[in-house]
C-alpha cells in the first residue's frame, strides 16, 4: 500500500470569525476519481481554493506524495501539479482560444520570461493537437468571446488537463455542457485515470457521480461527514449525508386543470439562431423546452422577452397580438424571464437581497416615484419566508448567499411582478439538492395558481419530471412536441440531435 497522492489533514478556515471549514481531512489516491459532494455552502469550494493556493488555511497540513507542501499562491499549486477547472469560468474573452489554453505558459519563439516573443502559430498548432486528442471540434484561432458557454467549458477542461497536472480539480464541470460533451469529458477522465492522474470531482449530479467516482466524500457545514469507496453509497445515503435529513429528490407531479392559451408565439425568428418557432403556453401548464446547448432555446425566449429584437414573428397574449420590444413591455404584458445565468443577467451582486427582490416590480412598492420602505420591507420579508431563502437578513448582500439561494432571490424578483407567464431558463443549474427541490415545488405551485410556466432545461430527468408537454429545439427550429405520456429520453435526444440537412 503506497501513500496517497494527496493528503489533507485537519484543515480549518474561518471568515470573519465564522468557521467555514473545521478539521477537514481528505485523502486522494493515485489515479483515483474522488467525488466531493455537499450542498452549496458546505465548504467544498473553500477547500478547493485552499488546495489551489487561492486562500490559505488557518490550520492543518497538506501532503503531496507523503511530503508536506506549502501552497502559498496559485503558481505554487500549479508547479506542484495541481490544476483546477473553475465553476465560474474566467477566460480572457478577447483572446483566441489557443492563447487562452496557453495563458500564463505561453510558447515562446525565442527569449524567456515576460520578454520572450510569443509564438502564436506554434500555440495554435499545439492547441489543435490537444483538441484532436480529445476529439473536440473547436477552432483554436477563433476569439473566445464567440464560443458558447459549453465550448468555453471544454476549453477550460483541456487547459487544465494540458498542464500535465497530477491532480485535476473539476468544480461542476458539466453544469453547462450537453450529454454528448459529458460523454467526451468522461472518456477523458477515464484516460487520465489510466495515466495515474487523480481527479477531484465536485458535482451535485448523483447520476454522474455513480458513473465515474471511485471514492466519495460528503461535506456538510464545513465538516467532512463521510468518506468511503463509491460502492458503499446509495443515492439516498449520499443525500442523507449531504442534507442531514431525509429528503426525496423527486417531486410528485401535481395534476392541474389546464386552461386557455395565455401566450401564443407564431413564426418567431431572430437572425439565424431562432427560426420560425411557433407554440403556445396555457394557463396551469408546465411547458418544457428541451434541446442541446446551442439549440437556440435561450435566444428564443430572450427574443420573446424583448431582449433581442425579433427579425419576424408574432406574439399573442390572450389571443391579442402585442408588440414586445423591450423587457419593460414584456413585464407589462405579464411575462417574466428567469435568465440562464444569474450572476451576469439575473442579479445586481453589489445590491442587497431586498434591493434585488424589488428591482423588477419597484413600481408596485412606490408611489409618485417614492419607494415606500415599509411596504418594501414587508414584501421582501414575505418573499424570503415563502421561498425559504437562507439569508442573514434582507439587508445582506446577495453575493453572500449560496447559489441556490441567489437563484431563489431571482425567482422572488420575478414573482413580485405577478406574471401570468413565467419562463425559467435552466432554473436549477449549479444549485444544491435542497434548493432544487424547493424550486420544483415552487414551479408546481405556480402552475396550480394558474400561471403558464415555461421551463428550459438540459437535464432530461428534470424536464420529464416537471413538464406536461415538452417542445424540442435543434438548430433554432422546433423539431418536435411530446405529450407527457410520450416522454422518453431516447425520443427527446432523437429530436434534439441536429439532422444532417445542409446548413444554409
Amino acid at each position: 500500500m503506497t501513500s496517497p497522492l494527496l493528503e489533507v489533514r485537519g484543515i480549518a478556515k474561518s471568515f470573519n470569525r465564522n468557521p467555514v471549514l473545521q478539521d477537514v481531512s481528505l485523502s486522494v489516491g493515485r489515479g483515483e476519481v474522488h467525488a466531493v459532494m455537499g450542498e452549496n455552502g458546505a465548504g467544498k469550494s473553500t477547500l478547493m481554493k485552499i488546495l489551489m493556493g487561492m486562500i490559505s488555511a488557518d490550520a492543518g497540513e497538506i501532503l503531496l506524495e507523503g511530503r508536506p507542501v506549502s501552497l502559498r499562491d496559485p503558481r505554487a499549486a500549479m508547479d506542484l501539479g495541481l490544476a483546477m477547472i473553475h465553476q465560474e469560468l474566467s477566460p480572457v474573452l478577447d483572446m483566441e482560444v489557443a492563447e487562452n489554453v496557453f495563458l500564463g505558459r505561453e510558447i515562446r519563439r525565442f527569449g524567456a520570461g515576460p520578454l520572450g516573443v510569443v509564438d502564436l502559430g506554434e500555440m495554435r498548432r499545439a492547441c489543435q493537437e490537444l483538441f484532436d486528442r480529445f476529439s473536440i471540434l473547436i477552432d483554436p484561432c477563433v476569439c473566445m468571446r464567440d464560443l458558447s458557454v459549453a465550448e468555453m467549458q471544454l476549453v477550460e477542461i483541456v487547459k487544465a488537463i494540458s498542464t500535465s497536472a497530477k491532480i485535476v480539480i473539476m468544480d461542476e464541470p458539466t453544469s453547462a455542457i450537453t450529454e454528448r460533451e459529458v460523454a467526451i469529458l468522461f472518456r477523458q477522465i477515464d484516460a487520465l485515470r489510466a495515466h495515474g492522474v487523480s481527479i477531484i470531482y465536485i458535482s451535485h449530479k448523483l447520476d454522474e457521480i455513480f458513473r465515474i467516482a471511485d471514492r466519495i466524500s460528503v461535506m456538510r457545514d464545513g465538516v467532512m461527514i463521510v468518506s468511503d469507496v463509491a460502492s458503499a453509497f446509495t443515492r439516498d445515503s449520499i443525500i442523507r449525508a449531504m442534507v442531514g435529513r431525509e429528503i426525496t429528490n423527486f417531486v410528485p407531479k401535481a395534476t392541474v386543470p389546464i386552461g386557455e392559451a395565455v401566450l401564443t408565439v407564431r413564426n418567431l425568428t431572430w437572425k439565424k439562431r431562432v427560426r420560425d418557432v411557433s407554440f403556445s403556453a396555457r394557463a396551469g401548464e408546465i411547458l418544457g423546452i428541451a434541446g442541446l446547448v446551442g439549440a437556440g432555446r435561450s435566444e428564443m425566449v430572450e427574443t420573446l422577452f424583448g431582449i433581442r429584437r425579433a427579425s419576424s414573428g408574432e406574439i399573442l397574449i390572450h389571443g391579442r397580438p402585442e408588440r414586445i420590444r423591450s423587457p419593460g413591455e414584456a413585464i407589462r404584458h405579464g411575462l417574466a424571464l428567469v435568465t440562464e445565468d444569474r450572476k451576469t443577467t439575473g442579479l445586481n451582486l453589489l445590491g442587497t437581497v431586498e434591493e434585488n427582490i424589488s428591482l423588477a416590480a419597484i413600481g408596485r412598492v412606490a408611489r409618485f416615484g417614492l419607494i415606500r420602505k415599509g411596504k418594501e420591507h414587508v414584501w421582501a420579508e414575505d418573499s424570503i419566508e415563502t421561498l425559504r431563502i437562507k439569508t442573514l437578513s434582507r439587508d445582506a448582500l446577495v453575493s453572500s448567499l449560496s447559489g441556490g439561494n441567489q437563484q431563489k432571490v431571482v425567482l422572488a424578483k420575478w414573482l413580485m411582478t405577478t406574471p401570468e407567464v413565467i419562463i425559467l431558463d435552466e432554473p436549477t443549474r449549479g444549485i444544491d439538492v435542497g434548493a432544487k427541490r424547493d424550486i420544483y415545488l415552487l414551479i408546481g405551485e405556480l402552475a396550480r395558481q394558474g400561471k403558464a410556466v415555461i421551463v428550459i432545461s438540459s437535464e432530461l430527468i428534470e424536464i420529464m419530471g416537471l413538464a406536461d408537454r415538452i417542445l424540442v429545439m435543434a438548430e433554432g427550429r422546433m423539431t418536435g412536441e411530446l405529450k407527457r405520456d410520450a416522454f422518453s429520453q431516447e425520443r427527446i435526444m432523437e429530436l434534439a440531435t441536429p439532422s444532417n440537412e445542409v446548413r444554409p
Binding site: 465564522n18 452549496n40 473553500t46 457545514d221 453589489l350 419607494i371 442573514l392 437578513s393
Partner: protein
C-alpha cells in the same frame, strides 16, 4: 458560507454584532473628518476656528461639493464625467454675458447656464448610452470642446461688468452669517440624498451601476437612465458655473480648470466605488468638506502650496486604500 451562520450552534457568535470594523466602514470617513478638524483647532486655535475662516471653508467647499453631487450620480451609475470643469467655464461665461446690468431678467441669467449644462450633459449621456462610446472618452472630448467653446464665447478674455443682483447670487449671506453658497450646497446635497435613497429613480441608478444587464432584463430602460445621470451632472456643472461667475464677479474662460478632478476626488474620498453601484450620498459631501478643510488648514499652517499638492494626492491614495481594505481586501 453564510448559511452556516444561521445554524443554532453558530448563533451564539452573533455575526452581525456591530463591531469595530463595521463602525469604521460606515463612519470611518466622519471620524477622519472630526480628527482633522480637531487637530487643526488644537494646532491653530486663533486662526482656524475663527467664524470668518470657517465660513470661508464652507464657501470653498460649496462649488466643488455641488459638482461632486452630480459626479456621484454618474459614478454610481458606472460612468465618469470629465467635462464638468469645462462646462463650469462655458456656462460661467454665458451667465456673465447675460448679467450686464439691465440686459436680461435675472431669472434668465440663472436658468440659462443650468439648462445649457443639462443639455450638454444629456448629449454626453446619449453618446454613452446610445452611441456606446465609453464615458471616459465622450466626456474627455466634451471637456476639450467646451473649454474651446468658452474661449470662443468671450473671444478669450474674461467677461466683466455684471449686475449687483448677479453678484449677490453667490456673494450674499442670510442674516450676514450663513453664505448663500453654503445653502445651495446643502440644498443640492439634500436633494441628491433624497433622490438616491428614497426614489425609484435613485434605486435604479444603483442597479444599472451594479449590473446593467440584469437591470435591463428586469425592465429598466438603462439607456434613458444613463442619459439622465449625465444630464444631472451637466445641470449641476451649469449651476456651479453660475455660482463661480457670481462669486468671482466675472465669466472667465479659464475658470474651473481641474474642477472635474477635484469633484472626482471628493467622490472617491467619500467611499463611492469607481466601478459603480456602491456609495452613500454623504460620502462625497464629507469628501468635499475634507478637501477644503485640509487645504485651508495647510494654508494656515503655512505649508507651501507645492507640498499641499503632495499631501492632497496622498490623502486620495490612502482614502481609497483604506476603503479597499475595509471591504475585505483586494481579493
Amino acid at each position: 458560507m453564510t448559511e452556516r451562520t444561521m445554524k443554532p450552534t453558530a448563533s451564539k457568535r452573533r455575526p452581525r454584532a456591530y463591531g469595530a470594523d463595521r463602525f469604521f466602514q460606515d463612519f470611518g470617513l466622519v471620524l477622519i473628518f472630526v480628527v482633522v478638524v480637531g487637530v487643526l483647532v488644537v494646532l491653530s486655535p486663533g486662526a482656524f476656528a475663527r467664524p470668518a475662516n470657517l465660513i470661508g471653508i464652507i464657501k470653498q467647499a460649496s462649488i466643488n461639493g455641488v459638482l461632486a453631487m452630480g459626479m456621484m450620480f454618474v459614478i454610481i451609475s458606472g460612468g465618469i464625467d470629465l467635462s464638468v470643469g469645462s462646462i463650469v467655464a462655458f456656462t460661467g461665461v454665458v451667465a456673465a454675458s447675460l448679467a450686464h446690468p439691465g440686459a436680461y431678467p435675472l431669472a434668465l441669467t440663472i436658468i440659462a447656464p443650468i439648462v445649457l449644462g443639462a443639455a450638454i450633459g444629456a448629449v454626453n449621456g446619449a453618446s454613452v448610452a446610445y452611441g456606446r462610446i465609453p464615458s471616459f472618452i465622450v466626456t474627455l472630448a466634451a471637456m476639450i470642446v467646451f473649454r474651446g467653446a468658452a474661449l470662443i464665447a468671450c473671444d478669450g478674455s474674461p467677461v466683466f461688468g455684471v449686475s449687483g443682483a448677479f453678484e449677490d447670487i453667490a456673494g450674499g449671506f442670510v442674516r450676514d452669517v450663513v453664505p448663500y453658497l453654503a445653502i445651495y450646497f446643502a440644498l443640492v446635497a439634500l436633494a441628491s440624498a433624497f433622490i438616491l435613497k428614497m426614489t425609484v429613480y435613485g434605486r435604479r441608478v444603483y442597479a444599472i451601476g451594479g449590473n446593467p444587464v440584469a437591470a435591463g432584463v428586469s425592465g429598466i430602460n438603462v439607456r434613458a437612465l444613463q442619459t439622465s445621470v449625465y444630464a444631472i451632472s451637466g445641470a449641476l456643472a451649469g449651476f456651479a458655473g453660475l455660482l463661480l461667475a457670481s462669486r468671482t464677479v466675472s465669466g472667465s474662460p479659464t475658470a474651473g480648470e481641474g474642477y472635474e478632478l477635484n469633484a472626482i476626488a471628493a467622490v472617491i474620498i467619500g467611499g463611492v466605488s469607481m466601478s459603480g453601484g456602491v456609495g452613500h450620498w454623504y460620502g462625497p459631501v464629507i469628501g468635499a468638506l475634507l478637501i477644503a478643510v485640509i487645504g485651508n488648514g495647510l494654508d494656515i499652517l503655512n505649508v507651501s502650496s507645492y507640498y499641499q499638492l503632495v499631501i492632497q494626492g496622498l490623502i486620495i491614495y490612502f482614502a481609497v486604500l483604506a476603503d479597499v481594505r475595509s471591504k475585505g481586501g483586494l481579493r
